[in-house]
């Protein structure tokens, strides 16, 4: 009996697999340590810090959306409250010369997020779906508007600031230079990522997935889905608070934008673009969205419009997010026939790029005439200068868009066929696609 039943269970990880698993985390730690040696400029250190913060925040959001199936429109509440509390904490610690070093301060942010999630979450997690989404939106509006009213705590429009360098020092670290902040963020990112990954591999983590798939059935295997959602919400609030705390430490300021709808929207955006169905999805999303938001804002005035378009495109064409797109290719990679897709991919890329170029040209021209019609018509977008008044530009935009669209449609059909053939081949080789 035992022999046969144990053969029914999935094999336990072998020593090599275990080694590989831990090696992956160690490799991640090594990368985080070495990164500033390769990209040491102030700008890249800031970017890395923002990516780390954003990754923790997006992963905390995915505890709700991807793991437990709860769509929140107000996750920034716990991020923002964590941030505000940490600014106050730094000021109090500094003023009273308490021997609390900066590296443990993010914990205060986490506990703040946890506390408010525990207080506000019990009612909102009664139901998932629309009811939960609506309540999260209502709570977010409530907190965000209080931030402008309760000036003593939130500091009104200006927000409140703190000096992070005045705290109790360990090993002589002042946390003045960005490199030290980078290492602080990197350490917390590593801890938070490991903790959130571990959470997915616990009984609670698995029951979260069960609640996501079918809350009704969960009740008939002995679990209260409300309690599961509530606990997931508390964990999510904790890690959002840690992320908010790191952001507050990084900027040495917290203001009402931390709590606002834009912040809540951005985290949804990052998690979804990265792929909510995969643990690493939100990390990928955080990297992409942070780099895009820093990069795009230099290239064009209406970068948020492009953000919106990217989001729509992902929702429509790649609901699995970037990670989902990449993971789709794994069976083909193993079957060794991925290269057969390359010609069709290349063709589709050229056609789609032409269509997008036309679209961008049209958007920038329209923006010029609607937003700054009085200005010089020689405008610059994405580093390319052109004359928005020229009929040639209008014609080019139209030709690229229409021609690109027609060509793209054909090439994507081709991609579809090539894909079907390749996955069929992989299946013949016994590799599940």
């Amino acid at each position: 009996m035992t022999v046969t039943t144990l053969s029914a269970a999935p094999p336990l990880p072998t020593a090599t697999e275990k080694f590989r698993f831990y090696a992956l985390w160690i490799a991640m730690a090594v990368v985080l340590v070495v990164l500033p040696q390769i990209f040491g400029s102030g700008a890249s250190l800031t970017t890395f810090s923002l990516i780390g913060i954003s990754a923790i925040f997006a992963l905390s959001y995915n505890i709700l959306l991807g793991q437990t199936g709860m769509l929140s429109f107000g996750h920034a509440v716990y991020y923002g409250l964590g941030g505000f509390m940490v600014i106050h904490a730094i000021n109090i610690i500094g003023a009273n010369k308490l021997s609390i070093p900066l590296p443990v301060v993010p914990l205060i942010g986490g506990l703040t997020g946890l506390l408010f999630a525990a207080l506000l979450g019990w009612v909102s997690t009664q139901r998932s779906g629309t009811a939960f989404a609506m309540i999260s939106l209502g709570v977010a509006e409530l907190i965000a508007s209080s931030a402008l009213i309760l000036r003593s705590f939130f500091g009104g429009e200006a927000g409140i600031s703190a000096n992070r360098t005045k705290l109790f020092r360990v090993f002589g670290w002042t946390f003045g230079p960005q490199i030290q902040i980078y290492y602080l963020v990197a350490a917390w990112t590593l801890i938070a990522v490991i903790a959130m990954y571990a959470l997915t591999r616990t009984p609670l983590g698995r029951m979260c997935n069960a609640v996501r798939d079918n809350p009704e059935r969960v009740q008939f295997v002995g679990y209260n889905p409300h309690v599961i959602r509530y606990l997931a919400f508390c964990f999510s609030g904790f890690f959002a608070g840690v992320a908010g705390a790191l952001a507050a430490i990084n900027f040495e300021i917290a203001n009402s934008a931390y709590l606002g709808a834009v912040q809540s929207g951005t985290v949804l955006f990052a998690a979804y673009i990265g792929g909510i169905g995969f643990f690493i999805g939100p990390i990928v999303g955080a990297i992409v969205v942070t780099i895009l938001s820093l990069g795009l804002s230099d290239l064009t005035q209406v970068w948020q419009l492009y953000f919106g378009l990217i989001f729509i495109a992902v929702v429509l064409f790649a609901p699995g997010g970037i990670t989902g797109l990449l993971m789709m290719h794994r069976p083909l990679l193993r079957a060794g026939n991925l290269f057969k897709l390359l010609p069709s991919y290349l063709a589709a890329l050229v056609a789609t790029a032409a269509m997008i170029a036309g679209l961008i040209l049209a958007i920038e021209t329209i923006v010029h005439y609607t937003v700054n019609p009085g200005d010089d018509s020689h405008i610059k977008a994405f580093g390319v200068g052109f004359d928005a008044a020229s009929p040639y530009i209008w014609a080019t935009a139209a030709v690229l868009m229409i021609g690109g669209y027609l060509a793209a449609r054909r090439t994507w059909t081709w991609v579809g066929h090539a894909w079907d053939n390749a996955t069929h081949e992989a299946r013949e080789k016994g590799i599940a696609a």
Partner: protein, 249 residues
């Protein structure tokens, strides 16, 4: 010894419409009991009332002598009553293995623990493996439940229901939509898995009912019109008129 399940004067109405009109039903411990009746008689509603999915409008439901009506489903489940669904109700994105494992977690005392590695729980692992073997889905262990064939999903449905080790099992049309061969296999499976437990089953297939059940109750328009052994039910003129007669005609 108190009955495994007892319904006392149970009624359920939705607005003005009475679906269940005064049901009195007793299922003895260790008995295989079938609930039959024409479509719309209220069989699934009766299951919903027993399992806590709905609360009765009046009357009470007792499990081993204790009142359970009004309790939420998860508390009733923790007291050892587990049900399956007529429409397959599994965790579609989780693998077969994960589906069954979720169903044994509470029964093995894991509760809402977030400090234990789920792959490191020998009892959970062994019990999940036993159920997986029992329902013959070992070869499909890592397949997401949503991608299983219909018959496989029905087997998984039964597996999830019995995995927690509940000693009172309610199965709602477990063989509906199955071929003859699949039905036979399903009945053998049900017989094996409910060995030594109390079974209440809703079923349309009369060969399954008369082959499996030790006692049968007939539900027509929200009322039990007869309750007895298969022979008594076959011979009952009221049943013939209301139900079996129709089938024959």
């Amino acid at each position: 010894m108190s009955a495994a399940i007892e319904l006392r004067g149970v009624e359920k109405s939705f607005g003005d419409v009475a679906i269940i009109r005064n049901i009195n039903l007793t299922v003895a411990q260790g008995e295989r009991h079938a609930l039959i009746g024409p479509n719309g008689a209220g069989k699934s509603t009766t299951f919903n009332l027993i399992s806590g999915y709905m609360a009765p409008s009046s009357g009470s439901v007792l499990l081993r002598g204790e009142v359970i009506s009004g309790l939420p489903p998860y508390q009733i489940n923790r007291r050892g009553l587990s049900r399956s669904f007529q429409v397959t109700n599994v965790f579609a994105n989780l693998s077969v293995w994960e589906n069954l494992r979720c169903a044994v977690l509470w029964a093995t005392g894991q509760r809402y623990s977030f400090w234990k590695n789920i792959d490191n729980l020998p009892e959970v692992r062994t019990r999940t493996a036993i159920i997986l073997e029992d329902i013959n889905l070992t070869a499909r262990r890592d397949v997401p439940a949503g991608l299983l064939t219909y018959a496989e999903q029905r087997a998984l449905e039964i597996g999830i229901t019995v995995a927690g080790g509940a000693d009172v099992i309610l199965l709602d049309e477990p063989t509906a939509g199955m071929s003859h061969a699949e039905t036979e296999r399903a009945v053998a499976l049900i017989r094996r898995l409910t060995e030594g437990r109390t079974l209440l089953i809703v079923e349309h297939d009369m060969s399954v009912v008369f082959g499996l059940a030790q006692r049968i109750s007939v539900l027509v328009y929200g009322q039990i019109i007869a309750s007895g052994t298969p022979e008594e039910i076959r011979a009952d003129p009221k049943v013939k008129e209301a139900y079996l007669g129709e089938e024959a005609a």
